[in-house]
Amino acid sequence: MICHCFGRSFDLSKLGHRLTETANLMVGLPDYDAYLAHLGARHPEAEAMTREAFFRDRQAARYGARGGFRCC
């Protein structure tokens, strides 16, 4: 879906994807598609984690010895 305003055109579905990506990364969950793309391009022989496994792996990493902590 394309929206034309301010003399420019915006791809709304791309914008929506970016917003979801931002919200997910705010809680420490990186983009799964980017992970797959990276693995496919650089390590095609490696077996990719499923979406579920990826989620669990990142969740565990966020609250490991480093990270997950914020203050001010």
Binding site: R18, T20, E21, T22, A23, N24, L25, M26, V27, G28, L29, P30, D31, Y32, A34, Y35, L36, A37, H38, L39, R42, R51, E52, F54, F55, R56, D57, R58, Q59, A60, A61, R62, Y63, G64, A65, R66, G67, G68, F69, R70, C71, C72
Partner: protein
């Protein structure tokens, strides 16, 4: 373009001047907002540009760790706006909401000026600088970089300092929650209900629909709103209200138990879902508050400068210098950000040139949150502000006493007005709820109810604000306890290797118990203190946080000297010097001031002479309590001494490293070498 920036500068100067010079009549909060935005715009456009090109020499063609070590997991090149969101969510916490509220006792002007000057020349510089040097070193942590750039000794000293700061931070944040929830059945009910909500979300995301973070958070949010509504019903029912009424000390022990349990349970069960909920709620509330201020355009009723700049204020003791500068830490300059800027963010930076937007820019936004908190506190009637924030030892425990006392300071308020505010927000009593959260909540409820709901929804908005703060403080509490546990295991592990085994259940429980006991001790001490605890603990927290910033900036200065960029190293040296002066003066006064309200030794002296005369002074009720008060004073004293020793040691090591760098004609820092330039630099 030049004309545009000249106009921004003129507008900023005009509104800042208007805010600063107005006397007698109230000022609209919008002027403060305009002044702040102009300052941020100019600082970003010019100062951060200067830092990026002349001082750091950001190189957009240089490969970032996200590309060099891309693993699709930790190291991922990320769109700059997406990363900005991640970074901002990681640096924004309770700090910028609390400090400015406390500092409002001196009037809104000193706080505003320090927030603006501090962020432009110290806070944002620190964040940007640490992000920059960490990016050039594969995204390594602050502690790691201190070890390699300044030596192993400095590294160990810094990690002891960080652990001590963590303990004080967790205690003071827990104390804020206690102050907000003690004797508040509505607040207690809603906060309790977050536990089953989080459990439900945790199970949902583990077994039903994994990885659906947003879906799960939305469900959690709806349940949370229901819980706030139900809390009102509970508070109105005499039997249930009684069951959810807890004293400050019971809350303190419940928090310790909670912190312990939540940090040893699997993270997906309660910690992670709560973190998701609190992160989104936080961002949403900040946006709502900003929109609220712009729509309602409230008048600032607090004077620009109050009589309490002389140091006799009831909220925190001590004069403008140095205590204002440590009371407002986050929002101006926060050492904790150095940990974030050398954590996940540098590993995701797509292009080195974007460090400016993310390092400097995100901190400016964080600072605007502090300005909003200051506005929320200043739109309250000053009399109500002081009644809410002064300790019971000063204003008594009834509305009549409090109103009389606060009026005698020159901030007229009637007992009826205080009762009215309490009933508006659905509470029995709002006196002596220091700690920022309740004051901010009343201010926010006044602003937000001006947008939606009017007076009828004020109680809802108040408890929404309380829940929002309590929720992310509790998240910090369990996540922080986990981090403190890992730090303890790491530090103690060098003495007792068995402790280091993070897979050992016994070692984990022991280290967690130690971490909880650390902050729990200070929390309990704060809860039973008749001066309210915040009085003692917040300055300690401020000192420690600014001290960490001084350490980070020292590292930054050392690196600049090693890069042979000493001509512009003043950008780090000047804020380091200022922070060192503030923290050391404040630390010195906290220990040696002859005024018992400020100096720990004077306070101990007062109690020990009463003790030898056989008298018992409040808060103590028995001789054992008297001894406890004395012990607390000496512990606080020792902790302050530790902080000062850490900062002095780091400054000394920093100076040595700088001299060593100066005597060497070569570049001596250990950066990643420049390789594989990006083909398409994107700024």
């Amino acid at each position: 373009m030049k004309i545009f920036w000249a106009a921004i500068a003129a507008l900023g100067a005009l509104s800042l001047g208007g805010v600063a010079l107005s006397r007698g009549e109230t000022v609209n909060a919008l002027w403060l907002v305009v002044a702040a935005i102009c300052v941020y715009a100019i600082a970003y456009r010019f100062y951060s540009q200067f830092l990026a090109s002349r001082v750091f020499g950001l190189d957009p063609s240089r490969q970032t760790p996200a590309h060099a070590r891309n693993d699709g997991l930790d190291y991922v090149p990320t769109n700059k706006y997406v990363l900005f969101g991640h970074h901002f969510a990681a640096i924004a916490g309770a700090g910028p909401l609390v400090g400015p509220v406390l500092a409002a006792q001196m009037g809104y002007l000193p706080g505003t000026l320090w927030i603006l000057a501090g962020v432009v020349f110290a806070g944002a510089v620190q964040d940007f600088l640490i992000l920059f040097i960490s990016t050039r070193r594969d995204g390594r942590s602050l502690g790691d970089m201190i070890r390699t750039e300044m030596g192993a000794f400095a590294g160990t000293v810094a990690s002891v300092g960080v652990l001590a700061i963590m303990v004080i931070l967790l205690a003071v944040l827990a104390l804020i929650v206690v102050k907000a929830l003690a004797n508040s059945p509505w607040g207690s009910f809603t906060v309790f209900s977050t536990i089953p909500i989080a459990l439900l979300m945790g199970l949902y995301s583990r077994f039903l629909r994994p990885h659906r973070v947003l879906e799960m958070s939305l469900i959690g949010f709806v349940l949370l709103m229901l819980a706030i509504w139900l809390g009102g019903v509970v508070a109105a029912d005499p039997v249930w209200a009684q069951r959810f009424t807890f004293s400050g000390t019971s809350w303190a022990f419940m928090l310790m138990a909670y912190g312990f349990i939540a940090s040893v349970l699997p993270v997906w069960l309660i910690l992670a879902p709560r973190d998701y909920l609190s992160t989104f709620l936080k961002i949403g509330t900040i946006v709502a508050l900003a929109i609220g201020i712009l729509i309602v355009m409230p008048e600032l009723r607090m004077p620009a400068i109050s009589r309490f700049i002389d140091g006799t204020g009831p909220v925190f003791a001590g004069s403008l210098f140095p205590f204002l500068f440590i009371t407002i830490a986050c929002g101006s300059v926060s050492g904790f950000h150095a940990l974030i800027c050398s954590g996940t963010t540098p590993k995701m930076l797509e292009n080195e040139g974007q460090a400016r937007l993310i390092g400097y820019g995100a901190m400016l936004v964080e600072s605007s949150v502090a300005i909003m908190a200051l506005i929320a506190a200043s739109v309250l009637q000053p009399g109500a502000y002081f009644a809410m924030n002064a300790p019971p030892a000063v204003i008594g425990t009834t509305v009549a006493d409090a109103a009389a006392k606060v009026t005698s300071w020159g901030f007229a308020i009637t007992p009826e007005a205080l009762t009215q505010i309490a009933s508006d927000v659905g509470e029995k009593n709002i006196l002596s709820r220091a700690g920022g959260a309740p004051t901010l909540a009343v201010g926010m409820s006044q602003i937000l109810s001006g947008v939606i709901g009017g007076r009828a929804l004020m109680a809802f908005w108040y408890h929404f604000a309380i829940l929002f703060e309590a929720l992310f403080i509790l998240t910090t509490l369990d996540a922080g306890t986990r981090v403190a546990r890992f730090m303890i295991q790491d530090l103690a592990g060098s003495l007792v290797p068995a402790l280091r085994r993070t897979e050992s259940w016994a070692a984990n429980v022991a280290a967690t118990a130690l971490a909880v006991a650390g902050w729990g001790y200070f929390l309990y001490q704060g809860v039973v203190d008749p001066l309210g605890g915040i009085n003692t603990l917040w300055p300690l927290f401020g000192i420690s946080n600014q001290m960490l910033a001084a350490i980070a900036l020292t590292l930054g200065a050392v690196v600049l000297f090693k890069m042979k960029r000493q001509r512009t190293a003043w950008v780090a040296l000047a804020p380091t010097a200022w922070l060192a002066i503030c923290t050391l003066t404040a630390g010195w006064e906290k220990i040696f001031s002859p005024i018992p309200a400020i100096g720990f030794l004077a306070h101990a002296q007062k109690f020990s002479s009463a003790l030898s005369a056989g008298k018992i002074l409040a808060p103590a009720k028995s001789l054992a309590d008297m001894h406890q008060v004395l012990t607390n004073d000496y512990v606080d004293c020792a902790l302050t001494t530790l902080f000062m020793a850490v900062v002095l040691t780091m400054l000394a090591v920093g100076c040595l490293s700088i001299f060593k760098a100066l005597s060497d004609a070569r570049v001596t820092t250990e950066e990643k070498s420049y390789d594989l330039p990006l083909l398409r630099p994107q700024l």
